[in-house]
Symmetry: C2
Subunit: 224 residues, 2 copies
DNA sequence: AAAATAGTGTCTGTCAGACAGTATGGA
DNA sequence: TCCATACTGTCTGACAGACACTATTTT
């Protein structure tokens, strides 16, 4: 039995954040149907009531269908709903945000990776959604290990610090950062694995990987 | 033009949290129609696409219609959506949570105020929604002025500390608490207004009210 | 040895927790 | 004066920021 009320459209939109050449960026796909056909926008899709068990399932399906990617971190961001955000009618978009290690643009399939700073205006209210996703990442990064999901398999502590600095937009003290990371223990050194500096000269750096704890909130704010 | 896909039901549910005799409690209303007719549940309602401008408008309308109350603080909590949460079909519930000063039960209109600890099982997935709202309040309270929205017009600093302690479920040091509150400055003393101790004996306490800043995040975690 | 990069040790200012002390009222 | 409650001052341990120092590699 359905309700007597006309129901809004129900969609899920994804904000896929990644680090492209060390710069925080978002994955966009070219729309293959109206409205805004041919424009770059967040990957999204309708909830399929026959197919999807719940909203998280919709998010995973959309991610798979639109990009073929799998995100190590996927979190519900916020729900945008109103009369004027989509010309097709009153619509609800449940936005999810995901973090991925560096992913390549794929022009064949209409996928572009754009820096989040200086992003052009996007269709619908997608600009606002991206803004909110970035704000959430920045906010959580100052007191959690979230940014590790932007790292590749193996990385050095200086790599990790650099990612934190990029995400937070401010320099961090080397000693304090390492003290904190060591104390929290969500990454672990890989025994015997090192990486030589690019110039050749200099002490090789210990390589790290994600530990068992993975996502962790720090007890206190980690920095300013 | 509508979508080709069948759309899920779209509802908004409200978690109204309040302090009843100093105990964190939630407002529930008796359902006046199936499913679960006659049972206590979160006040909620369908999105009315003709009437409501956006989701926040739906939330405010439902609050008004179901309780006649106005909430000084209303925030989107999380969106629950899936096939089995409502027997009427695939449904989406955008949950909002609100904070209110002490409100009275209203059996005439089917409204009850129940303590959040030891709550009986609620219809749909409402128990989970309440849980999440309480978790959000607890989480934010340790580093923000959120609990002030649970306070009446006038209150003492000891009242405020007591509310923080109730919400966080742990005692706080008097000196540290006052230092922090004073530094943050989201409440202000009301000149010349004091409240005498209940027993009659003892120094009267300065009365405070919300200041201009109201909602504020602290720089650091306020306590363990 | 020099240079370059990785990693550690230590000082210090800040601040929350603890708690003792002062202030102000009624009985 | 005593008691009860409200409020304040100060000591201290923990810790983040700063930064100098040691370590390890290639040239």
């Amino acid at each position: 039995m359905k309700s007597d009320y006309p129901t809004p459209l129900a969609t899920v939109d994804l904000v896929l954040l990644t680090l492209r050449d060390g710069v925080l960026s978002v994955a966009l796909v070219r729309r293959d149907r109206p409205p805004f056909e041919g424009r770059l926008a967040l990957p999204g899709g309708f909830v399929h009531v026959e197919e999807d068990e719940d909203l998280a399932a919709t998010a995973r399906r959309v991610l798979r269908e639109k990009t073929g990617l799998v995100a190590p971190y996927l979190e519900q961001l916020y729900t945008f709903g109103g009369r004027n955000r989509d010309e097709r009618g009153w619509s609800i978009s449940v936005a999810y945000f995901a973090l991925l290690p560096d992913i390549a643009p794929d022009p064949e399939n209409g996928r572009a990776i754009l820096e989040v700073d200086g992003l052009p205006h996007l269709p619908f209210d997608h600009s606002r959604i991206v803004e909110q996703a970035v704000a959430r990442l920045r906010g959580k990064s100052s007191y959690s290990s979230l940014p590790v999901y932007l790292m590749p398999e193996r990385f050095t502590l200086d790599d990790l610090q650099s990612v934190y600095e990029r995400v937070l937009g401010q320099p961090l003290d080397r000693g304090s950062f390492r003290r904190q990371i060591d104390f929290q223990g969500f990454v672990e050194p890989v025994p015997g694995e090192f990486r030589r500096p690019e110039g050749g000269r200099g002490r090789p750096a210990q390589l790290y990987r994600l530990g068992a704890k993975r996502l962790k909130e720090f007890g206190r704010r980690m920095l300013a």
